[in-house]
Every structure is written in structure tokens, then in C-alpha cells.
């Protein structure tokens, strides 16, 4: 029996939520969890305090201020891999222009039902 993305996301959320009131404090990790299972592909946005939301697209950190705006505008349902890559490139272009920290190299990893594409 495979662990579904939904199950994994909820498990992690419960661990994060347990940690916020623990002696050690919250796990300092904001996450994006993506996976492909029987119900198709899904993406989950997790917070270090344990909030969970299933999303069509997501971003974490300061880059999210720039990327989410572009994705709100350009994302549509059932995009192809190529269209997805174009959208990511658009975000990267904007970050290179407008973001205060210079990141010369980006790595794009695409994940499909058989793992890394």
C-alpha cells in the first residue's frame, strides 16, 4: 500500500503542529510537498507552524512575493510540461531583475509519476 501525497502531507502537518508547543519549539522548516499518486499530481504548501493547504502552485520564502503574483496571472489548469517550464522561467527572469539577492544559477527538477523526469 503506497503512501499517498495527501496522507504524507497530513502526517507531516501533524508532526509540525505537535512541535510548536513542545520544549524544543517548532521545526523551522517551511515546505512544499509535491507528489504523484493514484489521484494524480498534487502540491501541498506547509508552514513551520503546521498549517497545510493544497495548492495548484506555490512558492516559499521572499521569492514568493514575486513568483506567486506571476503564477496567479499565468497559471491555468492542465498546463503541459513545456508551458510549466516557461512559467518558471518567467518567474526566474523577474527574480533576476527585481530580487535583491543575486542567484546566478537555478536548478529545475521536474517530477512525474515515475520519479524525476
Amino acid at each position: 500500500l503506497e503512501l499517498s501525497t495527501h496522507a504524507a502531507a497530513n502526517f507531516i502537518r501533524n508532526e509540525l503542529a505537535r512541535a510548536i508547543r513542545s520544549r524544543g519549539g517548532p521545526h523551522q522548516a517551511n515546505s512544499l510537498l509535491g507528489g504523484v499518486d493514484e489521484d494524480g499530481a498534487s502540491l501541498y504548501h506547509l508552514d513551520y507552524l503546521g498549517s497545510l493547504e493544497k495548492v495548484d502552485f506555490g512558492a516559499q520564502g521572499y521569492c514568493s512575493y514575486f513568483s506567486l503574483a506571476l503564477m496567479d496571472r499565468h497559471w491555468k489548469k492542465n498546463m503541459t510540461l513545456e508551458e510549466g517550464k516557461e512559467l518558471i522561467n518567467l518567474c526566474i527572469e523577474q527574480l533576476k531583475t527585481r530580487f535583491i539577492i543575486n542567484n546566478p544559477r537555478y536548478r529545475l527538477i521536474a517530477v512525474g509519476k515515475d520519479g524525476k523526469i
Binding site: 502537518r13 509540525l16 503542529a17 508552514d47 507552524l49 503546521g50 498549517s51 497545510l52
Partner: protein, 139 residues
């Protein structure tokens, strides 16, 4: 806190499911309200940061029941309306003006929608969208 909202929801679902299995009937909204109150006060010195509202129909004549609570479980019962959120103050104003007792479902929907629209227009943190749920005996 969004995380606490989910945690409280999950723990309450456990309580209501256990109640349903043991008592073979649904929990009444007033009972649920008291359970929630005790549940929140149990964490008096490390509370869940939620501000719950309870709404339901109870009894054989499906009388509406609404109440609001603070994060420690202090509940207030009213027969007109309860509000909470970033636009709480604005909503108090709009609801106080627009509310009338004994509204039909459609009229109630319209009234709630107008209250929410007017309130969020005066709040920079609210207004992305709104959802209205109307509970009726037939569901």
C-alpha cells in the same frame, strides 16, 4: 492561527465521532458549544489561538442556535448574529443595521452577503472572496 484551526478541527472531529458512536445520535449544537468551551479552557495557560463560532439547528422544531467564543472558551449566546475575524468591528456595524428576525433562507443569504461585502470593503486585510453557508432543515 491557521495551524491551530486545523488542530482544533481534527480534535473536535474525534470528540464528535466518539460521541456519535457511543450515543448513537448526533451532537446538538448547544452541547457542542459547551464541549468546545471546556476543550479550549483546558488549555487555559497555553491556548489554541482560535476564535470559533458555532452555528446549527437543534431540537424537534429545528430552532437556530448560534454562539461565539474567544480563545479561552468564553461563549456568548445570541439570537441574532455572531461575528469574528479581522473585520469583526465592521461586521458588527453592518449586521446590527441589516439584521431582521425571521428571515427566509434567500433573504438571509442576501442579508449576509451584503453585510460581508460592506464590511470587507473597509478592511485592507479582507476581501479576496466570500462564502455564505445557509443551514436549513432539509440541508
Amino acid at each position: 492561527l491557521a495551524s491551530d484551526v486545523m488542530t482544533v478541527q481534527q480534535k473536535l472531529e474525534l470528540q464528535t465521532s466518539m460521541y456519535k458512536l457511543q450515543e448513537h445520535r448526533d451532537m446538538k449544537p448547544s452541547v457542542f458549544n459547551n464541549m468546545l468551551s471546556s476543550f479550549l479552557y483546558a488549555r487555559r495557560f497555553g491556548p489554541y489561538f482560535v476564535e470559533p463560532l458555532v452555528a446549527g439547528l437543534e431540537g424537534p422544531d429545528n430552532k437556530p442556535f448560534i454562539s461565539g467564543q474567544d480563545l479561552l472558551g468564553a461563549s456568548v449566546f445570541t439570537d441574532d448574529f455572531v461575528v469574528c475575524g479581522t473585520s469583526e468591528q465592521e461586521l458588527f456595524g453592518t449586521c446590527e443595521s441589516f439584521f431582521k428576525p425571521n428571515l427566509e433562507p434567500d433573504e438571509l443569504f442576501e442579508t449576509i452577503a451584503q453585510c460581508m461585502l460592506a464590511a470587507v470593503d473597509r478592511d485592507c486585510l479582507a476581501g479576496w472572496g466570500g462564502v455564505v453557508h445557509i443551514l436549513t432543515p432539509e440541508k
